[in-house]
Amino acid sequence: MSATEAPAIGLTHGSSEDTGLGNRGPQSKSIVVPYGFWLFVLSDIVLFSALFASYASLAKATDFGPGPLQLFSRTTVAVETVALLLSSFVCGLAIIAAKRKSLFWTELWLVVTGLLGLVFLIIELSEFGHMISIGAGPQRSAFLSAFFTLVGCHGAHVTAGLLWIGTMIAQVWAKGFRADIGRRLLCLSIFWHALDIIWVAIFTIVYLIGTLP
């Protein structure tokens, strides 16, 4: 089929090979798989929007317990933010290296991505531990329940992402740059970038607007 036979999308009638999907047929897996994962990530963001909405509704229901001003440290949050942002950036470098099938650089950047994600997670968990130890756990007030649900859900996603990064380091090492491994790496990068986008909303709404004087 020459290029001139498909002047525009939709003008497919009369072709003997009409599949109902345009006479180009369905898209290749390298498009369909990341696109499907993009749809999952967007629905995950919709899930987070519900958690944000409940947090915004309950942020002032502190039941005379500790509020954001007593609990949150902006310095800690700034360190977390930079760690996650650099992790997202390095994840992009890993995808660039993977496209060039450079085993060394792909593995190195993936390890750095995972380590920066781990730094983020350790800081977040120590923050949670400190809050629970001073009696500001999720059962203290509606504000704290909403806080731990929202930020904890993001932390759970980061944990899942770290397991995924570890899996991909092993799979790239053991199986090389096969087409399916490339698709998994791309999906991982979409997931990791999306987590950073959600974190932008969290540090703005929960930590910065929450601690305005």
Binding site: M1, A3, A6, R24, G25, Q27, S28, S30, I31, V33, P34, Y35, W38, L39, L42, S43, I45, V46, S49, A50, F52, A53, A56, S57, K60, A61, T62, D63, F64, G67, R74, A78, T81, V82, L85, L86, S88, F89, G92, L93, I95, I96, K99, R100, L186, S189, I190, H193, A194, D196, I197, V200, A201, F203, T204, I205, L208, I209, L212, P213
Partner: protein, 128 residues
């Protein structure tokens, strides 16, 4: 056959460009802009030089700008014809996010405001 008609092709979100240079530059520019916007956000939240009631709105605007930077430079969402499907899915996602958030905050604010003194007793509106 998409290879024959690049103008009709689709591209996956986050798919790297063909040129190593332009791809790396895209990520470095994205990182720079994201760091800049994050820095401005933390400065705006800490300074006393700005008009107090406007700070929260400014922070939301900065956050939306940073999300745009992430989408464009890290996930490579563009306005090009090969990105139409990605943009449409994103637009629908953003629509639902705004419906859920604005709808909830609107309803819950009025619900709390109409509860009268019991809302205060339940500490729904009191910070301390």
């Amino acid at each position: 056959m998409t290879e024959e008609r690049p103008d009709l092709a689709n591209v996956a979100p986050g798919e790297p460009h063909d040129s190593l240079m332009s791809e790396t530059i895209s990520y470095v520019v994205g990182l720079g802009l994201a760091l800049l916007l994050t820095g401005i956000s933390f400065w705006v939240a800490s300074t006393s030089a700005l008009w107090g009631p406007g700070i929260a709105v400014g922070l939301v605007v900065l956050a939306i700008a940073q999300m745009g930077v992430h989408l464009v430079f890290f996930l490579h969402i563009t306005t090009g014809p090969d990105n139409t499907n990605n943009v449409l899915a994103l637009a629908f996602g953003v629509l639902i996010v705004f419906l859920v958030m604005i709808g909830t905050i609107w309803i819950m604010y009025h619900l709390a405001a109409n509860m009268g003194p019991s809302a205060e007793l339940m500490n729904l509106q009191m910070q301390h």
